[in-house]
Structures are given as C-alpha cells and as structure tokens.
C-alpha cells in the first residue's frame, strides 16, 4: 500500500545495504494483439520507442495494481515498448536512482515515475530532463520544474470527501470533537489527506485533534484508546490509511463506543469491514488508472500534444451503500 512507508530510520538505512544489490525489475515485451482504438494517434507517435514506468516498490500489492493499469496501456499502444519496474522496497531510494539512470542510458522516449523517498531522486531526474527525456510524475507530486504532468490521486480531495461526509451525513457541527489519525509526521501524502479533512471540519467549527500512528494498525489502536481516555465524547474519526482506521475501530469496539470511522485506500480488509458494518467508510483511489493514465499522458507528450499539468485520477468514498462495486 502506498501509505505504508517503512518508518524506523535505521530499518531504512539498513535496508539499503541489502536491497541495493537486488532490485526487482520486470520488463515485458510490447507485443499485445488486442489494441484498443483509443490511442491510435499516440500509437503511431511512440512506434518503436520505449517508455519506462518506474514505481516505488515493484512487488507490493498497491504497485502491482498500478502495474495492471500499465498493462492496459500496453494493450492500447501495441507498437511501444513499455517497461515496468521498481525497487524491492519503498525505502530503497538508491535502487530507484539506479533505475532512472539506466533509463537515461537506454535513451527512453519518456519516464513515468512515482518518486520514492523525499527528494533524493530528483537530481537524477533533472539529468534525464536535461537529456531531453520528458518526465511524467505519477502518484506522488513533487516540486519539479521540468515535469510535463502529474497524474495521480488528489489526496486533499480524498481527505475533503471524508470531512464532507462527517459534516453532511454524520452531522458534525461546531464544538464537536473529531480525531484525525495520521501517518508518519512530515509525509507529504498524509499531510494532504489530513489538511483536506481538517479544513472542512474546521470550517464547520469542529475541534480537530491530530495524532500520529505511523500508518500501523496496533499504533492506531493505541492512539484511539488514549485519545478516548481524554475525549470520551469523540464525534468521528478519520484515519489517513485503512490500517490505522481498523486499529481505531478495534479500540472503539473495546470501549463499547459506536463512532463513525473512515479510512483511506479501500484495501480488501477495510472493504470487508465496511461491508460488515464496522468501518463507516474508506476513501478509494484508483491505482490502476494512475498506471494507465500515466502512460497515456506520456504518449501524448511524445506525440507533441498538450497535456494538463495535473491529471486527477479521482477518489471516491466507499460506504456500505456502494461497497459491492469495489469488491
């Protein structure tokens, strides 16, 4: 899952040691008979060229879903070679840098990348841009002048969707307390999700309590227990990923309280909980679309067409009413 970033600094540093030697790269040939009509112009533009898609971790579920979207794009553009690769762990920044460098060496026509880590990869991306390779950022937006476009979830919009639900449907009003359990301090994605929700809630006059739980289920549970001790009158809870939401749900159940809780990511565990009446909801994003639209945008850039600087792949609040569509 994208929001499950490895926390402990040491683990990250140590991970580099071992992982630097073994980054899982999967390259697939372009040949795919079922070409869709949608990208006819682009197909010609990228004929015989290579587009490198680089994600944060080649093997995790979330990124495999992104990869499925890339596979859809391959079917659209049978003439192009589209490679899909990523380090073995999201923390393995050096492996991603190496992948960018090798894409430059292979003189690819475009790089579609979900930048991992803080900004360590940007200098090598700058070199790629200097070499005339167009850069499309997916999933995680960055301050990076040469980028042609950003394709991904509007995380702030996701947070806002949860906040709107609390205000409009749950009926959170001025003076009510709402807890936001967020991932690691400083993480940009969690910042956006937190801000999207808290802006709406604060506008409604609610008191917003923000506490960190490192995207971990057990820590989410502990934080919820503790906040409930001091604030037994909590009106609603938004967690910036599903694991923390499920932990918070456990704590609420333990304390015999029914509090609306919304998570983020719509992972299978959370959807099952939503269907069973546990979690109130979860914000779904569309990783498959991120992969597909990322490549489509790259093809347009290669073809010399203008593209939107920001392509939103959409978010949707999954509740008991529509959960069946997401299974």
């Amino acid at each position: 899952m994208k929001s499950k970033r490895t926390r402990a600094a040491s683990v990250a540093a140590l991970g580099l040691l071992l992982a630097a030697c073994s980054s899982g790269a999967t390259t697939a040939p372009a040949a795919s008979p079922a070409a869709s009509a949608g990208g006819a112009t682009g197909a010609a533009a990228c004929q015989g060229k290579t587009i490198a898609v680089i994600v944060k971790a080649g093997t995790s579920t979330y990124w495999k879903t992104v990869g499925a979207g890339v596979d859809d794009a391959k079917a659209e553009f049978p003439g192009c070679t589209i490679t899909f690769e990523g380090p073995d762990a999201e923390t393995n920044v050096t492996a991603q840098i190496a992948e960018v460098e090798s894409a430059v060496a292979k003189k690819v026509a475009a790089i579609v990348i979900a930048v991992t880590g803080a900004d360590q990869v940007l200098p090598s991306l700058q070199k790629a841009a200097d070499a005339g390779i167009p850069i499309i950022l997916i999933d995680t937006n960055k301050e990076f002048a040469p980028k042609k476009a950003f394709v991904g979830t509007d995380n702030a919009a996701g947070g806002k969707a949860a906040g709107d639900f609390f205000v409009k449907t749950v009926g959170v009003k001025a003076g009510d307390k709402v807890l936001i359990i967020r991932g690691q301090a400083g993480d940009a994605v969690h910042n956006l999700r937190e801000k999207g929700a808290s802006d709406v809630l604060k506008a409604a006059g609610a008191t917003v309590i923000v506490q960190p739980a490192d995207s971990d289920r057990a820590k989410g549970q502990s934080v919820m227990e503790n906040v409930l001790q001091a604030n037994p009158d909590l009106k609603a809870v938004f967690a910036t990923n599903d694991e923390m939401a499920l932990g918070a749900l456990k704590a609420a159940q333990q304390a015999n309280k029914t509090i609306p809780i919304i998570g983020f990511d719509a992972n299978p565990d959370a959807l099952a909980s939503v269907a069973a009446g546990g979690l109130t909801g979860s914000i779904a994003q569309f990783p498959k679309k991120i992969g597909q639209m990322g490549v489509e945008t790259a093809v347009k850039v290669i073809a010399g067409q203008t593209v939107n600087a920001s392509v939103n792949t959409g978010v949707e609040l999954v509740t008991k009413d529509n959960v069946a569509n997401f299974k």
Partner: protein
C-alpha cells in the same frame, strides 16, 4: 594497576547482600518514570484513571515482552535487530493457521511461538556456527528474511477477524473486578507480562544458566575457561529472544484481532531503548529485569501521555527522542557517581 581507585589500606564498611549501587541504579530510572507520571497526571485529569492505566498496560505489553528477550541478548554483549520482523512473521503465520487453515487458535499460538523460537535458533547458529562477525549482521539479515517472508506468504495483505479462542483471550480479554462505576478491568495480557517478568527474574538470578548468561556477557573467555558452554548460551539467548517475539506476536494478534505483515516495524528499536533506559550495558554483563520493565514503562507512559495531552504530531517525535537521551544520560551520571566511591 587497574584504573579503579586502589583499595588501599582497607575498604572500611562491611556490606553483605547485593551492593547498593545496583539498587541506586534502578532507583534512578524509577525516579524518571515517577517524574514522567507526575507531569502527565498534573497536566491531564484523564491520565491517572483506572481505564487509562489499563490502556498503558495494553500498549506497553508487546514492547515489554520484546524487551525481555532483548535483555538476555544484550546481556551477552549481543543485539537482536530481527525481533520486529520475527514478530510480524509469527503473527501472520498465526493468522493464516487460524483463518486459512481453519485450525483452533491454540494451534495458531503454538505456531507463532514455534516460528519465533525457530528463527531465534537460526540467529544463534548464524552467529556461533557461521561465525558471522557480529550479531548485528546475522540478525539484520534475519530481519530482512523474516519481513520478506511475512510479505511473501500474505502477498502483502492484512488478515483480519481471527474469531475467538486462546489468542483473543490473551490479547483482548479482561478480568472485571468490582461492579458499576468503580469496576476495574485488568487486561489478561498484563498477567502474561507479569508472569514473564517474574519468570525471567528467577531465571536470570537464580538459575545456573541465567548466571552463565551474565558470565558470558561479562567476559566470554573467562567464562569459557571456567567450563561455561559459551556457544550454547549464545544460541539459547537468541532462541529466547525469538520466542518472546513469538509471544508478543500472540498478544498483538489478539489485541488487533489480525495478522499483518507490516506489524512490528521499528519495534526492535523500542525494545533496545527499553533495555538501555533500564540501565543495561551495550557491552554485556550488566542489566536487570526490573530495570527493563521500568524502561518499557517509560516508553509506554510517554507515548500514552503525549496522545492524551494531544501534543502536536511533529513535536511528539522530538519529545520522545529527548526523553530517551535524558533517561540514558541520567543513568550515565549515576554510574559515574557510583564509580568514584
């Protein structure tokens, strides 16, 4: 001549029983804990409530169990970086045994303990048989292997809804004492932790093997030349550490009603911190069960209190770091005071 002050004419006082520095030692860490509790109790009325104290017990249990295992390892001058990952693997194996294989929770519990112990034996053998230069390396490797294995067998997904049974009983259930508003709920896992600490106290202080652990850490060569089976002791301490990670996995699985492959990220650092705050020496041979409990409580109380006071997210990280450094520094000062006698 040694660097100690020379005994000189006579060391006057006669002192039987354990030397008092050892007591003063733990008193220091205990004072730190009391100070922390006083600050939080003063700042928030919800801190010193029976409900919150039970919460602290629940939140501290996993780290307290891991720290016990870590203690025996650090006593031999070693380190076990794999406990968090071993916990994750044991936890997902437990969850899969229960949900995928449909077996009773007791089998899941045994499987978790077995996985923990087996990986611990692995750590010990890597160190003593392959002669890897330092347990830092062998357990670092094991950390990656265990974490990777947990991701592989689950495909990266969490497993929820483990149902009822012994795991739920240990990690989730409580005993209610009294009735009405005055009722107090004591988590079952608290009994597990207390039992483990009492057991380890006797093991480390009263058994031959326990004292051999101290001897191995204090001076491995002298221990070997006194007939202590040093290699076997080393394999044993890593096995104990793995076993405690397995037990912690049972508690965490019961508490969260799930098994997830990203569980226990960074837990090894919390366990090491608890030991060091409690006065355990990285060089081996020095450290106590009671000190480790105090260290684990300081970590648990700190996280709980910061949540209760709704301290800003970014500042929490700073405060935790500062308290760890302060706690260890107080210990350094105390030790220095103890040396100049």
């Amino acid at each position: 001549m040694s660097s100690q002050p020379e005994p000189g004419a006579a060391v006057a006082q006669s002192e039987e029983r354990r030397n008092w520095t050892e007591v003063a030692f733990q008193l220091g860490a205990l004072l730190g804990l009391i100070l922390l509790i006083a600050i939080f109790a003063f700042s928030s009325p919800s801190f010193l409530t029976t409900g919150n104290l039970a919460g602290i017990a629940r939140q501290t249990s996993v780290n307290a169990l891991l720290a016990l295992g870590m203690l025996v390892v650090i006593l031999t001058g070693g380190i076990d970086l794999s406990v968090g990952a071993v916990l994750a693997l044991a936890m997902v194996v437990l969850a899969m045994v229960i949900t995928k294989a449909g077996l009773d929770q007791s089998i899941g519990l045994l499987a978790a303990l077995l996985v923990g112990a087996a990986l611990g034996v692995g750590n010990g053998l890597l160190l003593t048989r392959l002669h890897l230069p330092h347990p830092f390396i062998s357990t670092l490797g094991m950390m990656n292997i265990a974490r990777g294995a947990a991701l592989v067998i689950t495909g990266g997904a969490s497993i929820s809804a483990l149902g009822g049974g012994i795991v739920k009983f240990i990690g989730n259930d409580e005993i209610r004492l009294g009735s009405g508003d005055g009722a107090v709920s004591i988590p079952i896992m608290l009994f597990v932790v207390v039992l483990a600490y009492v057991g380890f106290y006797f093991f480390l202080n009263r058994t031959v093997v326990g004292r051999h652990i101290y001897a191995t850490g204090g001076n491995p060569e002298a221990a070997r030349l006194s007939g202590v089976p040093v290699d076997r002791i080393l394999v044993l301490v890593y096995t104990i550490s793995g076993l405690m990670a397995g037990l912690a996995a049972v508690v965490l699985a019961g508490r969260t009603d799930s098994g997830y492959p990203n569980a226990g990220l960074g837990f090894e650092l919390d366990a090491i911190s608890a030991c060091i705050i409690g006065g355990t020496s990285f060089f081996g041979g020095v450290g106590t069960v009671s000190g480790t409990l105090i260290g684990a409580l300081i970590m648990g109380v700190l996280r709980n209190g910061l949540n209760i006071m709704s301290v800003d997210t970014n500042w929490q990280t700073v405060v935790i770091g500062a308290v760890i450094i302060a706690a260890v520094y107080v210990d350094v000062l105390r030790r220095r005071a103890g040396q100049s006698r």
